[in-house]
Symmetry: C2
Subunit: 738 residues, 2 copies
Amino acid sequence: MRNFALALFFICMQQQLNAETIIGFSEEGSLYQKQIETDYDRSLNALEMDKWMKYLSKEPHHVGSLAGKENAEYIAQLFESWGFDVEIEEYYVLIPTPMIRELSLISPTTYKATLTEDSLVEDPSTFVRENLLPPYNAFSIDGKVEGELVFVNYGMPQDYEILDRYGIDVKGKIAIAKYGKSWRGIKPKLAGEKGAIATIIYSDPADDGYGMGDVYPKGPFKNDSAVQRGSVMDMPTYPGDVLTPGIGATKTAERLSFEEATTITKIPVLPISYRDALPLLSAMGGPAVPKEWRGGLPITYHLGPGPAKVKLNLKFNWQTTTAYNVIAKLNGSLYPDEWVIRGNHHDGWNHGAADPISGMVALLAEAKSVAKLAKSGKRPARTIIYAAWDAEEVGLIGSTEWAEEHADELKEHVVAYLNTDGNSRGFVNIGGSHVLERFFNQIIEEVRDPLMDISLKERKRADLKLNNNSAQKRKDAEKRSDIRINPLGSGSDYTPFLQHLGISSANISFGGEARDGSYHTLYDTYEHYTTWRDPNLIYGVSLAQVAGRATLRLANSERLPFEFKGFADNIDLYIGELEELADSMRVDTKDKNSMIIDGTYTAALDPTKTISPPTIKDSVPYFNFSPLKNALAELKESATNFETVGQINKKSTKELNNLLYTVERLMIRDEGLPKREWYKHYIYAPGFYTGYGVKTIPAVREAIEEREYDQVEKQIMLSAEVIENITARIDVIVELLK
Amino acid sequence: MRNFALALFFICMQQQLNAETIIGFSEEGSLYQKQIETDYDRSLNALEMDKWMKYLSKEPHHVGSLAGKENAEYIAQLFESWGFDVEIEEYYVLIPTPMIRELSLISPTTYKATLTEDSLVEDPSTFVRENLLPPYNAFSIDGKVEGELVFVNYGMPQDYEILDRYGIDVKGKIAIAKYGKSWRGIKPKLAGEKGAIATIIYSDPADDGYGMGDVYPKGPFKNDSAVQRGSVMDMPTYPGDVLTPGIGATKTAERLSFEEATTITKIPVLPISYRDALPLLSAMGGPAVPKEWRGGLPITYHLGPGPAKVKLNLKFNWQTTTAYNVIAKLNGSLYPDEWVIRGNHHDGWNHGAADPISGMVALLAEAKSVAKLAKSGKRPARTIIYAAWDAEEVGLIGSTEWAEEHADELKEHVVAYLNTDGNSRGFVNIGGSHVLERFFNQIIEEVRDPLMDISLKERKRADLKLNNNSAQKRKDAEKRSDIRINPLGSGSDYTPFLQHLGISSANISFGGEARDGSYHTLYDTYEHYTTWRDPNLIYGVSLAQVAGRATLRLANSERLPFEFKGFADNIDLYIGELEELADSMRVDTKDKNSMIIDGTYTAALDPTKTISPPTIKDSVPYFNFSPLKNALAELKESATNFETVGQINKKSTKELNNLLYTVERLMIRDEGLPKREWYKHYIYAPGFYTGYGVKTIPAVREAIEEREYDQVEKQIMLSAEVIENITARIDVIVELLK
């Protein structure tokens, strides 16, 4: 009965919310905005989106390709035809494309890797191979090496700890790693740090092939020839053009030399299919891998080193290439100096129907509908900029260069950046700045799921309650009225806006019901997408509904819809996690150390095998978290004060709105994060050793995780200062509102 | 430091124990017994054990085979040559052997299953095929059927709940199940109850093949032709001859008709290799299996039903067959009427080097050494009976018939039954009656690991601390001074003694470091065993040391070494588990039901797939556990009293010892457990729907698990009564000792 009562409570609450005004709007403003949104929805046209998708994904359209340029021009023309001021902004960036890709097993048996993906009669697009980028990892350095293989599982730090226990290292060897768990670029980065001379990455069928479901074309998953391309640029250090960190790669920009570009890998790296991996892995010897490392190939996996020995030869054409960002502007009727940016990249690895066109066509539908509203006299109050970025796949280059070049004006004018990328079918996913958590919750309370008669929020809550692996998230879903939006790490074009410039950002997508293996393969085609991902682009329309509402509400709200109670609650969660992390590492380190010392590990080991106990680690001291906790206590109080005075009233001024949208700016520190000054956000960052995955309060978290204990309290002070500044700002806002 | 202190504590305790007297012995008796054990150890000869193993496993020696009879005679001669009174006791039991085994895929593709295991040049024994039993499941009924396949995962009750959610049932279909998780006989039992017309069981390579490690002969695991044979007799109802439940299958015994034998399966069942399973599974359609159901074959697994359709034809020769139990007796010098029985079966599925010969040769070594002691004037005080059972593999038949025939005298005379079966390498495993927990702990504190300079107990503790999946067991290993011995379910010859007659029993083995796939295959050979399991039978000697000490101490102790504090502590654990089980089922049922009702399940489901929410279950009421808890409180008090007065003194009388060794008899109730009167033990039983796996306080536990709520409190009363009777007995003993 408890849950039933809870459900009733949510239903009542929701009804109340529907009757409520929209956050940031007066009652009348709310009613008018809802009319606008009804008109807006009416113009969204799935058939047209489908047509655009078919057109934009007809050929490979990566940065530097002819089709890429044509797509940019096509998109620009569309924007122009709808009445936007359009510019194509060009950047001149270093892009590697493959010249030589050779991989052979030379001992104890021989095999020459095919390194190609099969064309399939069921999918005509897979025969369109002109300008096709073959499987490679962009920003792998050139190299010709020969060496024994070592199997490194997913190539994460903890995997090397296990190898250490077997007495196996990768020095002078070639690491073969499974795709997955960490962002791909971490694999060669770590392998290189450990002394490997090259890295091979393959998609294991257990994770990304027949183990997951039927393979393409019978099902959506990777067939045995499919290879995931992808950038291995060291994006957690800085994304964008490798030669122009921090500045726009204009024609005249001052550039680093090739040798100075630290984000190019130190060792060559090549992605392969599981068909090509099988002979290599089959030829390996050494101990069988630990249970958790096993994959889905019909063999016993071995750690090596060797006897399998391979020869790898990679050579790239390092060419300055033009990236075309399409920037379409609709000036605001009331506050033209306050900008809402809505972006999606247009370049794909190949046909790129899902990634990025499925998000791009939603953006186009949004822009067309907004333009129609504008023409009908409902021009948004603030300026809206639609951006179609180039060169995202190779390293967020188009968006990063643009954000770097225009840094000052963006910091001044931008209210928020809203990103999409590949879309799919299922549950809504929103990641972003928590000052917008309540704002997005209200939107997903109102937008209905296209296939079920419930709101997106209800479906999402059900998914979190039933399908989430994290007990915390399941509990939240049950108890917390707002769905937590996810903090953002990296992986798409929001990164320069959020983490470099401190612009409140969000990333929106649907997914969870159409997992597939087309990502970055030849098979990411129109046929694949419309068969397996989102037939008839039903959820493409939902995406346009959510992202469009977010854009329009940010553009039209009287007072900008930022809010701090949800933000404070998330900060509370992160600080709790940090304390727990330190505590559990302390206990774990102590327990393990004592079991190493007292001989438990030795006693439990098989004396006939070669595995050793782990090595002793420095014990984890207690840290003073009180600066963060005191800062949090004050933040919570101020957030509550803001809520108390926060009803819409006459005091919504330009000054107030500016104070609101620049709260996120206070989350960045000019000196940046330790070891990577480009990343300046002290609440959200991608992990230095995990890649896309987010680290919240990253300076503190990574100091603990990487056992740099002498850094922890310094970073606690700096992060607490950031929170204190936010609190001080909220207090100013509250004073203004009183 | 805490753990270090704990380690020190254990070391001190151990030293104290070494100085201590042996449980059940006076100080002088202890010293003398230790001398005896030194002599005993000296006679154990690994080379001789190896020779016996080679001889006894040279040919297939299943019940009814010529080699089986010869092995029995060989063992009898050995015993005789050492001075035992030997009898070969014969039983006339119904044994099926295969006449027709045919399995074909007939649609949509065709494949004829080979149903044979490959001979390997690396293992000469695999060419010895005369009298070889081909892969089959004994006590499958005959049948010729044709039907579509349904994949049922491991064929457990919860698997059928998942299939229900997909709207798939097995009615009129053929269930194909993976070996593992449950005892094999449960699979056709449940499939039959659900309406399947046959069951196919195969060994999935992820669980029992290349997924686990290199396959035979390169490594120890199942190659693609290997098949696990095994009985599918419904042993959780009653083991032993299917026609003579409860009585010895002597020539003149009154027998059931074939039709009345409820332990023969209702539907035909056949085990196959993963080589034969692959074409069948590849031909299946329907939804892809849930993530947790995936196996290690290089395909996407599907649930069916069909389109794969198979034809199965099984016909067996149901023949009355003679089983030969070898019974070797050494009369006790002081208490010839008090018997210690030490048994191991001698029949194997084929060569059976590991199962059962590796245990059998330890028993032989023990018997020879004890006989030598007797000849040198150190004849044990009590009678020792060594038993080599026949027909264990097909259903614990030899031991069960003997125990049934001799029930009355065994109940009167037997102090304890000590069992071994297949042995391996690694950590000591002791399962059994908890009145012997402290007794066995003392033994494993004294016997050293043969490869490391620590006691068996220290190694076992390290293994439990580091490698055990259960948090409870890891905690116990850290905090509890005695290692918990495991409660016994079924799976070897202790069952009739423990669970039918209420004789305190134990099962001893080593393992954990040499997992392999030879179990019940053609590859369970001398070559396999001595290469991969226990080369040079090093742990075979350890087994003889532990089992021999247990036998000799039970035979020589002044006061029998039963103890109740450990027993009470384990009962405490079980009662806690029962309460937790009811509580967690209650919460889980309530949560699931409310999420079904409030639409959460529906909302979280993919509307394009055919899976439905689970069905609503009756809510779980609160039960009155107080009778068990009151009984436990009294038991604990009496156990403490026993410990207080329990020092060895002059009062060790025959009466006292009899009261001690018949405490276990009080754990059985004549009416037996619900639905299976043969099983009479109210503390330990194999699971009715899990097979070998133990259920403690089974009448209560299974009533809760099977949601027979109206039975729970009745069973609590009956089980509490059993505990009360034990307490009353302990009180009598305490009075005697005062």
